[in-house]
Amino acid sequence: MAYGYQGQRPPLPDRFLQGQITVPRSQVPRALAEELKDAAIPAQFVSYPRLIGVYNDHAADTVAADTSEHTMKSFKFNPGTIYSTAGGFKFRAGGDCSGTGGVKTITVKFGGITIGTLSVSTGTRSWLLEGEVWNNGYTYQQRWRLIAYDGASPAIESMNVSDDTSLSVEML
């Protein structure tokens, strides 16, 4: 098999040497490859948490023409996605609003629990939400951080996170 692997081609980070993208790792002597691998990732950095992957949804979702709550975006973690007690996720969501009928609210929920709410003042605005969530030694206990941009002054808003003791969702 090409590259010395059985089955499918290995992922890019495993096929190429850092800084020498024309040379697959499998084509250099094994001892040298291991040495380079070790040098690239020192032992103290190879533990959890580590990136699994990135989910992207760039479709526009517009809230219906009423005053009810509507889920604009959602992402469901399949069982087993985050299995370490040090795991977690980061997320970003953004969009726009317009109209002078009053404040718009964008609420972050996880497991049906409200984590925090951004209020965007009336008028034409753009908004951006960023957050990160980390398991706190248990797969069912997390710590949260939220920050937001609402197109108004001050430009960056810290968002109050609801009572931390109420924010526990199994991420296993």
């Binding site: 526009a60 979702d61 959602s74 609003c97 009053g102 929920k109 497991g111 969702v169 199994e170």
Partner: protein, 242 residues
């Protein structure tokens, strides 16, 4: 792990069932039909009363506390819990009694009837990790039962099936079907527990839980003050780590 508290309110029923006015041996008292039930009073009065004749007994009551778990989020997995009760009086401890937290297989989740007296004694199961000695109870000082694994398993089942959480309260002599030592006519252990809605001294059930994996969904939810305005989410990006 999150927790919520459930208090006496329109969705909760607290009360007692009892057999009273008798003159009979202990075994007959606890195994015969009930003749008193009350869930409308603002107090749950536990009572254990001796009759004037030697080894005869006139009354025993069994408490019931029910809570609607509607406030638990969808997919909750119950990990722990406790029941906190507020006594109005410092009881006399004539019989060296303990209070036992139990199951409460009563007829209805919204009321109590005299037939529930027998149901509470039909197959009593202890729901607390420890009992509370009557001698340790002081007026207006809350005492607490921690739910044991049997209670948590039962509550999870009730929650999953849309049922109401039910807890019983019995004297240990009643729970164990063992007669206390008769100490004299009309001697009585009586504990009055407040069950008033909307005040600080009502019964409180605390449930600790987490939300299970299948419901671990991140949502970005929008709402407008005016239907004619627009609100759009253009993207969501999630980076997962494990």
């Amino acid at each position: 792990m999150a927790s919520i508290t459930m208090e006496s309110s329109a969705s909760a029923v607290d009360g007692y069932v009892g057999r009273e006015g008798a003159s009979e041996g202990w075994s007959s008292l606890i195994s015969s039909a009930g003749n008193n039930a009350d869930y409308t009073d603002t107090r749950v009065i536990m009572k254990l009363t001796a009759y004037s004749a030697l080894d005869q007994w006139s009354a025993v009551r069994r408490g019931v506390f029910m809570f609607d778990p509607v406030s638990l989020p969808t997919g909750a997995v119950i990990l722990g819990g406790s029941l906190s009760l507020n006594p109005q009086n410092t009881p006399t401890d004539n019989f060296l009694s303990e209070l036992v937290l139990t199951n409460a297989p009563v007829t209805s989740p919204t009321s109590l009837i005299t037939a529930d007296y027998a149901l509470l004694h039909s197959s009593p199961e202890e729901y607390g990790t420890a009992r509370v000695a009557v001698s340790s109870i002081s007026a207006n000082v809350r005492f607490e039962f921690t739910l044991n694994s049997a209670a948590l398993t039962a509550f999870q089942s009730l929650y999953d099936s849309g049922g109401v959480f039910k807890l019983g309260l019995m004297f240990d002599w009643d729970f164990e079907s063992t007669s206390p030592v008769w100490v004299g006519g009309s001697a009585e252990d009586s504990i009055t527990i407040t069950s008033v809605s909307g005040v600080a001294n009502h019964p409180i059930l605390t449930i600790e839980y987490y939300v299970a994996t299948d419901y671990a969904t991140l949502e970005i939810v929008g709402q407008k003050a005016s239907a004619g305005d627009t609100l759009t989410a253009s993207f969501l990006t999630v980076e997962a780590y494990t």
